[in-house]
Amino acid sequence: MSAQLVQFLLSGLTVGAIYALVALGFCIIYNASHIINFAQGEFVMIGGMAAAAFVDTGLPLPLAALAAVGGATLVGLALEKLAVEPARGAPVVTLIIITIGASILLRGLAALVWDKKIHSLPAFSGETPLAIGGATLLPQTLWVLGTTVLTVGLLWWFFNRTLTGKAILAVSHNRLAAQLMGISVRRVLLVSFGLSAALGALAGVLIAPISFTSWDVGVMLGLKGFAAAILGGMGSGPGAIAGGLVLGLVEALGAGYLSSAYKDVFAFVIILAALVFLPDGLAGRRAAERV
């Protein structure tokens, strides 16, 4: 394997891990409510921007990262409580427009609270690159991959071993039956928005030292995460992770070997091909419509 290929694979995996985290956020909210949350990318932006702002005020990096994820989680909870819950019973398309409104609002607020400049975050453990098979590996890449693996493990534990996690799964399988079993659907919705926001913000904090952050990074990251979630079969956790990694790798290889100007296009060409030939995604099941 050439050093160049190793380099492309490494950067693809790094970006892919970020897409996977964003995609998981999409899945969690979609499963709980069938809403496609177009504000998901803004959580990524808030994570990166808030961490950078906290570091600027002199907070140590780990605390700043924690505070940023916590702050974004609060924003996610507020979004559910103030905008989604009052509109419950509205058509899904209306709920989606509400999340679009929220993403515009959050972007506007970010430009007001912070500014419209590009910010960076210091790498978690230095910038000295490590050499692997002739390719260079930034320590931050290991942080991204390691934290993603850890987060996925924690999510697995949460959904399979805790009562709240199982309640979310129950609501995603059958909302009415879950309600009849005494599960509070309202609380499940609230928790899923908070959890998704935290995942998005975590992705934002992890990627900020590599690719910088600004008030408008959320749009593209959100769309790529959405594409990854669809590629994996909307709603499937393992599918979202696979989808994110595939998209990241395709993008890195496409930008490296074919054309860097079309970097953002490869993900969407793949997703179109996948939708036309595999309409249910990598891990999807076929469902029949009932009349």
């Binding site: 427009i97 506007g108 669809i230 296009v265 179109l272 939708l275 009349v291």
Partner: protein, 321 residues
């Protein structure tokens, strides 16, 4: 989602008459060229939204990529006229036809998808179009855009806000009239049946693929027409017109005004086109206010502006009787 009930033909005719009167009387309230410019933008967006509403509100199929068709229509006409010396009216018509053909070819495979998968596919198409337009700078001028020759009809160049106002206004009324007739035709009834349940519609002999495709192609052609007109009117076009944000704006206008209501699509386009112009006085608060207005309207009027107001009006009448 329940399939939209058709307004009785008499009610939709009243709406059409109201729109025609509004278009005819509006110039009395337009003090200068800037307001004419905003009114023309409203009209062009409204033409797109009336078409998009047939697809989203009646046939029940989402599209998050219609700005792509708008952009292709605009660039197609601009490139044919500016780079190949076509007469602008011929370029405009050829561009609309080509986009309709493209929508037909693309629509066949992707309209089999449903819900969020269809949203993703149309969104992806729109993004691919906008990146191609921004990258192929030999033809399109790249991210900075390109200038477009003015529209000329039978040797006369169409220029000036006043002339354009009447052209766009007349086209808008014609579009709404056409849309109303389509909605009240067997094709429109087939669209509404599809919206209710595709399986049930198929069982009573409606071919889902054919009817979804016709709504998609018709709405894409209207978007392309508005795009081409916008390019010749403003004399300049940038890839931002084909961007994801513009697609989202168009869908938002339809849902904001009220789905399954042609008048709603026009009102949604009017409010959401003028609002950012009015909000510019708030400068840095503009985005925050736009987002807040959008959220609050959808929270308190989940059916959209026009259907909610119509219902309130009907209730008020019922009480006074």
């Amino acid at each position: 989602m329940a399939s939209p009930a058709a307004a009785p033909p008499s009610a939709s005719r009243k709406g059409l008459a109201a729109l025609a009167v509004a278009v005819a009387l509006l110039p009395l309230a337009l003090p200068n060229n800037y307001t004419y410019d905003v009114a023309i933008l409203v009209g062009l967006n409204a033409i797109v939204c009336v078409g998009l509403n047939l697809l989203i509100g009646y046939a029940g199929q989402i599209s998050l990529g219609h700005a792509g068709f708008f952009g292709l229509g605009a660039y197609g006409s601009a490139i044919l006229a500016a780079r190949y010396g076509w007469p602008s009216l011929a370029a405009l018509c050829a561009s609309i036809g080509a986009v309709a053909l493209l929508a037909w070819a693309i629509g066949r495979p992707i309209l089999r998808l449903k819900g969020h998968a269809l949203a993703m596919a149309t969104l992806g198409l729109g993004i691919i179009v906008s990146v191609v337009l921004a990258t192929e700078d030999r033809y399109t001028g790249g991210p900075d855009g390109m200038s477009v020759p003015p529209l000329s009809i039978a040797g006369y160049a169409v220029t000036g806000e006043h002339t354009w106002y009447w052209i766009v206004g007349a086209l808008l009324v014609a579009t709404v009239w056409l849309a109303q007739n389509l909605i009240d035709s067997p094709r429109g009834r087939a669209w509404r049946a599809l919206h209710g349940s595709e399986v049930a519609a198929g069982a009573i002999g409606i071919d889902p693929a054919r009817h979804k495709l016709s709504a998609f192609v018709f709405s894409a052609a209207l978007a392309a027409a508005a795009g081409a007109l916008a390019a010749h009117y403003s004399g300049f076009i940038t890839p931002a017109k084909a961007s994801f944000m513009h697609s989202i704006e168009l869908v938002t206008m339809v849902v904001f005004g009220g789905m399954a209501s042609s008048l709603g699509a026009v009102v949604g386009a009017a409010v959401l086109t003028t609002l950012p112009q009015l909000l510019t006085v708030f400068k840095e608060y503009e985005m925050v206010l736009l987002g807040a207005v959008l959220m609050l309207t959808m929270i308190f009027m989940p059916q959209g502006l026009v259907p909610t107001l119509e219902k309130a009006l009907a209730a008020a009448r019922g009480k006074s009787r």
